[in-house]
């Protein structure tokens, strides 16, 4: 192999082959699926994300939740995701059509969050958990996200959305802990995560 040209053509060809196989064909085959309108309920699936949840999606990206949490449920033959209650069916391509960027993840230091909005639908719980995870899950290694909350002096009446914290986390008397807009958006995003609706390619029964 002494000819630069031979080398170049070979290098180009092998690369192009893989590009066609792993990028182009997938894009043509399932990269343009559209949402599905359920005949039974008339619902658009997956349901479009609210503006607030969309902002929460950005906070999720910035804080790197994806390095500890996956958002994909594997089928019965591949792990115990379903048996653990992380979903009612495996997730499929259509579940992610609105996700930019995708949060499929590769690590489960924490549980899968594909359906967390259904599993844990209490706003209060999520705020408490984000503020200091160990307060609701003793022994957790999830980092606290206290910097998404602000401590402020109560002026007049306490805020309606102040966290109900007790024990270690309770603010000094006369002070309150309130979620920043980022924290509110993040919780709205978490609550929107529910991929348990049936799809033709992924029935739930």
């Amino acid at each position: 192999m002494n000819r630069g040209l031979t080398l170049f053509v070979g290098i180009l060809a092998t690369f192009t082959l893989a590009w066609a196989g792993l990028v182009l064909i997938p894009y043509l085959q399932f990269g343009r699926v559209t949402d599905y309108v359920s005949e039974e309920t008339g619902q658009t699936l997956p349901p479009p994300m609210s503006g607030l949840a969309q902002r929460g999606h950005e906070v999720y990206a910035a804080e790197g939740c994806v390095y500890c949490h996956s958002q994909q449920v594997r089928g019965e033959s591949q792990g115990s995701d379903l048996a653990r209650g992380w979903g009612v069916r495996r997730t499929v391509a259509r579940d992610y059509i609105g996700e930019r960027p995708h949060f499929l993840g590769t690590m489960r230091t924490g549980p899968d969050l594909s359906n967390i909005g259904r599993r844990q639908s209490s706003v209060e719980w999520h705020h408490k958990h984000l503020y200091r995870p160990q307060s609701v899950s003793p022994g957790s290694v999830m980092p606290p996200f206290r910097f998404l909350y602000s401590l402020r002096k109560i002026v007049g009446e306490p805020s309606a959305d102040a966290l109900k914290l007790d024990g270690l986390d309770a603010p000094p008397p006369g002070w309150e802990v309130v979620p920043t807009p980022d924290a509110k958006a993040l919780v709205a995003y978490l609550l929107s995560l529910d991929r348990s609706y049936p799809l033709p390619e992924a029935p739930t029964e």
Binding site: I11, A62, G64, L104, G139
Partner: protein
Amino acid sequence: MTSPSSSSSPKGPKAALADALDRAAIDASCRLPVLLFFGSAIAWLLVGSVFALLAAIKLTTPEFLADHAWLTFGRVRPAHLNAVAYGWSSTAAIGVAIWLMARLCRVPLRHARILVAAAVLWNLGVAIGVTAILAGASNAIEWLEFPTYAAFILFVSYAFIAVWAVLMFRERRPGHVYVSQWYIFGAFFWFPWLYSVVNSMLVFWPVQGSVQAIINWWFGHNVLGLWFTPIALASTYYMIPKILGKPIHSYYLSILGFWSLALFYSWNGGHHLLGGPIPAWLQSASIVASVMMLIPVITTAINFHMTMRGSFALLRTSPALRFTVFGAMCYTVVSAQGSSMALRSLNKLTHFTHYTIGHAHLGMYAFFTMTMFGAMYYITPRLVRWEWPSAFLIKAHFWLASTGILLMVVSLTLGGLIQGIELENPKVPFLTIVAHTIPWLHARSWSGALLTTGHLAFALSFVLILLRTGKQREGPTLFTKERSFP
């Protein structure tokens, strides 16, 4: 023995001297750009090690430095990955590749200015990118966290390097093109194609979620397979025969190894998504390609092993050879492990666990980084025209790095297996699994401390040789006191 007469040119001492003078001219022409790449690589290695330690400690002690948004785990971890992947690994790889290109094209390096500009731009891009991640501007796409502006700077810098490589290859002295050059040539084309295709489909004009995931991991795996691995193999293919003074065992095996790597490695990406929301055929295609990777790996292993045969004693003396061969052996191990992890039955245990992190470090550190250390130990004295000032520092570096990475891989592998087996059993509560991984994560933090100490020893050595400290040595700096380096 170091007298010129013992130099092994078959043509006699006169020709040997002429060869040495040619090499001297080549090395002198490489000095500035290569040392610039090496120096910045080592600086990024230290930065990356600090982020790694922070992330490791945070994973066992979540309250550690928890109140600073810039230092939350989810930012420090990608900062570590990008600092070591783009700051250390890529920069070291480019430095080594430039020198190998010049040596193998047998002409002094031209257009050094292009490379100097590329080095400056590259470091600027990495610095901006890492800062952006810490500031919360990350894309949150693994291996591609750099926001558009930083990615763009890297791309421009890379374009300079690719143009330089083509010019250099065209100006080579006619004759045989050695296997190391094929790999470098391939890497220099593959990486910019990949980086631009992937960035445009994920960051500039993002496609739908599942397709993003497959492109993400096509990149994540190719950056190893078509960028870091080829350059490390190029270096190994050069260093082993060069230091031993023997031909490489088989030209045919070299050809088979190169083309099978080019063909199969680029199809591996899908095995990061087994069971995930991509069609079954994509998963199966990647599994098949991952298993077929056994072909280039076994081929290359035979080629290296047969070349080394009869010369293993040299590992006791030569630092460059010892680091390189350590890396080559780990290449075989990590690739075989990778093929096995792609099988569905094993993957369902190891996926999403620390086992995978152990595998990644076996590849990027035990194989790639150790090979780069070996190459730098060989190249730097020739550029600086000074021998390494301290054998002790090199020895400390080797033992800290090798025991450190061993401890890391063993603890993550065992911890990951326990995690995977317990995750398989839905009756084990999640927090119990978390508790069971913690001792292994502590061991990993300690291994990180060993590695970081090793990096400090290496950085110190590097500064000392640049400053030309110590007395001028005649012979090379070796692990053992023997004067007779063959």
